[in-house]
């Protein structure tokens, strides 16, 4: 009997050993597949709740950054957003200049038939189907996975094709060298390159909102994630009829306006 018991014990010990080896093997496979999937993929599948991006983390491809601009709150003549952008990104346009760099401008529009008027800030509209990216011969005009459209100046050759293609006149050419004291660390601007609004990517990457949205005294610019149904932006878009500039072009802009003539 005791002999039988000892045999059982041995059997059990042997099985436990095998089980342990199997567990180890599965664990290794899991670890290896996680490593090979890479950080971004893992975040995509595992990240349940929305999380604020730290500067050292890669961007979240599930997001699509956008903005709703309440034109009823925007007054003609107020240029606070433009000033904030100039200060943040270090571009300075001479008054009335046709050639200087311009990331954002205020436009007053009027319907000639009804006389309805609106004042609105116009910058890069961060299209889902950006024509500027389509035409770029070098791949410098690019769209980040989170929807931000910008210029990779390291490979821009300054052909200005994108400026021609953009229906919103959002891009401008850097004609002159930016003096050292006007340069911004996060927004380098090269003479001979095309530049445009990048939705303050450096701020968004650090979990902040763009400088223009922060500066608006009326809170007319609401920044957020267009893909997240729970976001403040999406809730507002659900309540209010919003418009895209030249929606007929099918660019699917990320910047939307509440009232347009």
């Amino acid at each position: 009997m005791s002999d039988q018991g000892a045999r059982d014990r041995n059997e059990r010990a042997r099985h436990e050993e095998i089980d342990a080896a199997r567990r180890e093997f599965l664990r290794n496979i899991a670890a290896a597949s996680v490593v090979s999937l890479g950080g971004g993929m893992m975040l995509y599948t595992m990240g349940g709740e929305a999380f604020a991006k730290k500067p050292g983390d890669p961007l979240d491809p599930r997001k699509r950054w956008g903005m709703l601009i309440d034109t009823s709150k925007c007054t003609s003549g107020c240029e606070k957003c433009v000033e904030a952008c100039k200060k943040e990104n270090g571009w300075e346009a001479e008054p009335g200049s046709q050639t200087d760099v311009q990331w954002i401008r205020k436009v007053d529009v009027k319907d000639p038939k009804t006389g309805f008027m609106a004042s609105l800030p116009v910058m890069c509209q961060h299209c889902a189907n950006p024509p500027c990216v389509d035409v770029c011969p070098t791949g410098a005009s690019m769209q980040r996975a989170d929807g931000i459209v910008k210029v990779n100046m390291h490979i821009c050759i300054g052909c200005r094709y994108c400026m021609m293609a953009c229906p919103y006149k959002a891009r401008s050419f850097v004609h002159e060298e930016i003096p050292e004291e006007n340069k911004r660390f996060h927004a380098p601007m090269g003479k001979g390159c095309v530049t445009s609004c990048d939705l303050c990517a450096h701020r968004v990457d650090a979990g902040q909102i763009p400088a223009c949205a922060e500066a608006c005294p009326e809170g007319a610019m609401l920044f957020g994630d267009l893909n997240d149904p729970g976001s403040e932006l999406r809730k507002r878009l659900k309540e209010i009829r919003s418009y895209q500039i030249r929606a007929d072009l099918g660019t699917d802009t990320g910047i939307r306006y509440t009232r347009l003539p």
Partner: protein
């Protein structure tokens, strides 16, 4: 003959010794010395490796920032500038690349290699921004990836 061989080998040994001694002594002071603030820790790679590979590191990082939005941390340009910054002796302000004492120019002037970085990029660290990013980037240890790895390897001490 045997005596001559002995002498010859002795002379050879002395010659080789002197040669070795001079090269070893000179290896340290060949080329200019890059200014670095050692109180902020060591550079990302040893000096001789940085001399050969710094442009590869910068280019790799550049693409990560452009396409993936990865900013800050030890391999960022702002970290390079904050550790290698040279201050003006009179005003105490960081020197721009216009000065030959700027850490990039110290070496690039010596090697006669032109750098284009500073035609667009700011050559001195931004007062607050860069430092804040550096601090946040250092907290990468408790990222989601690290958490998941911990979960997968759970139970194995």
């Amino acid at each position: 003959m045997r005596a001559f061989g002995k002498w010859a080998s002795a002379i050879m040994a002395v010659c080789v010794g002197v040669l070795l001694a001079t090269t070893v002594a000179r290896a340290g002071d060949i080329g200019p010395k890059i200014p670095i603030d050692k109180s902020k820790g060591s550079c990302v790679l040893p000096g001789d490796q940085m001399r050969r590979e710094h442009m590869k590191i910068l280019k790799h990082r550049r693409d990560k920032t452009m396409y993936q939005g990865i900013r800050g941390g030890k391999r960022s340009l702002s970290a390079c500038l904050s550790c290698h910054m040279v201050k003006d002796e009179k005003t105490g302000k960081p020197l721009t690349v216009a000065s030959p004492k700027h850490f990039c120019r110290v070496c690039h002037d010596y090697a006669a290699v032109k750098v284009d970085c500073w035609e667009c990029h700011k050559s001195v660290p931004e007062e607050a921004g860069g430092q804040a990013l550096l601090k946040d980037g250092a907290g990468l240890k408790d990222s989601k990836f690290a958490q998941l790895m911990k979960y997968v390897q759970g139970g194995r001490k």
